[in-house]
Symmetry: C2
Subunit: 184 residues, 2 copies
DNA sequence: AATTCATAAATTGTTAACAATTCTGATTGA
DNA sequence: TCAATCAGAATTGTTAACAATTTATGAATT
C-alpha cells in the first residue's frame, strides 16, 4: 500500500475503501485499518472521522522546502555517524541497494524506482539510529509523493551512484555534498 | 494516553496492555489498538510483533540535538507565517493558552504543564500548516518525553510569557529569538 | 542446583457480525 | 425547476469470540 502511495499510483484526495483493500490483500478489515492508520500517521493519508481516509494533498513549495531542509540535516547527521563505523557488510548492502535502484531506473518502472530510492537512503538512516529512522520516514514519504511525479530516471541513478561511491571511498565531505545535491 | 506519555507518568520500556486500557477507557480492544498504533507511529511507543507496545526509550543527547534543531526550524517557519496573518481571534486564543499554561505551572502539575506547553506551540504550527502540524507532533512528543522529567515550572512560565508577548506585539525578530531560547 | 520440557495462562492477532454514520438517488411538494 | 425529504445502500465504528503466539509455571531430569 505504501509503495502505491509513494509511487504516485493513486490520485490526490482519492478516497481509500477498507473493504476493497481487505479483498485485495486477502484479509479482513481489521488489519487494513491498522495499515491505513499507520500511513495516516506517516502523513501519506488523511483521516476524517466517519469518512475514512484519502490520499494526502501535495505539499506546497513553501512547505516542501522546509521539509527538505529538515530531512537533509537529519540525513547528513545519520550519514556522518554511519560512515564512522561502517563494516564490510555495510559495503555489500549499499552496493546491492544501489544496484537495485539503478536497474529499476533502467527499466523505468516508477513504483520500483521510488521504493528503492527510499530504501537506499533509509539504510544509512536506520543504521545510525532507529529513533531517527521513524521520524525520517514521515518526512520522506511526503516528499517523494510529489517528487515521483516529475523525476528523470537517469538523474536519479547517477546522483545516487555518486553518493554511494563517496561513501565507499570513506570521503565524508564528498558524500555529504552529493547528498545535499540529491535531497532537494 | 498521550498525555500520560508526554508527562512522563510511565516508565521507559514499560509494556502497555491492551485489555487494561480498554477497561480504563470503557471501550473494547479495537479502538485501543488504533490509539496505540497512532502513538507508535508518532514515536511515543515502540511496537514488536506479537508482543505489543512499550514506552519508547529516551533519545540520546546526540539524537536530541538533531531533533531539536529540526523542530526549531520548523516552528520558526510556522511562527513567521502565522504572524503574517494573525487575527483578533488568534490574539484571544494565544492569551488563553498562555494563561492555562501559567496556571498549570503555578499548581506544579507536571502532566498538565507538559500538555499545555505542547498545546501552545501547537497552535501556531497548526495555524500555519496542517501538513507541518503532523510532522511537528512526531518531533515534539519525543522531545517532551525527556524534558518533562527535569523541568522547572517557573522557567517554563516566564519563557512562554516572553514569546507570547512578542507575538502579540507583532515583533517577529523578538518572538523568533525567544522561541529559540525555549526550544532546546 | 541448574536445565529441559510440557502444560497452562496471559497476551496479541484476526475475523465476522452488528451498530452508527454518511452518501446516493428517487420522490414529493412548492 | 428547484429544494427538501426520506428510504436504501454503502461505508466506517465497535464489539465479542476465537486463533495464534508468547510468557509464566512447575515437574522431571541431569
Amino acid at each position: 500500500m505504501r509503495s502505491d502511495l509513494i509511487s504516485g499510483k493513486l490520485d490526490f484526495d482519492q478516497p481509500i475503501r477498507e473493504q476493497r483493500l481487505a479483498e485485495r490483500f486477502g484479509t479482513s478489515r481489521g488489519p487494513v485499518r491498522d495499515a491505513l492508520l499507520r500511513l495516516t500517521q506517516e502523513g501519506a493519508l488523511v483521516y476524517e472521522p466517519n469518512k475514512g481516509v484519502r490520499v494526502t494533498s501535495p505539499l506546497s513549495d513553501e512547505e516542501r522546502s522546509v521539509v527538505a531542509s529538515m530531512r537533509l540535516s537529519l540525513e547528513k547527521h545519520c550519514l556522518s555517524k554511519f560512515m564512522k563505523n561502517m563494516s564490510e557488510n555495510d559495503h555489500r548492502e549499499l552496493s546491492l541497494l544501489l544496484e537495485r535502484l539503478i536497474s529499476a531506473c533502467d527499466s523505468a518502472s516508477l513504483p520500483e524506482v521510488a521504493e528503492r530510492d527510499l530504501a537506499l537512503h533509509r539504510y544509512w538512516v536506520a543504521q545510525a539510529s532507529s529513533h531517527l529512522e521513524t521520524m525520517w520516514l514521515g518526512l520522506s514519504v511526503r516528499m517523494i509523493m510529489k517528487y515521483s511525479r516529475l523525476a528523470k530516471y537517469e538523474d536519479i541513478a547517477s546522483e545516487h551512484q555518486r553518493i554511494v561511491e563517496a561513501i565507499l571511498d570513506k570521503d565524508l565531505d564528498k558524500a555529504l555534498y552529493f547528498l545535499g545535491e540529491n535531497v532537494i
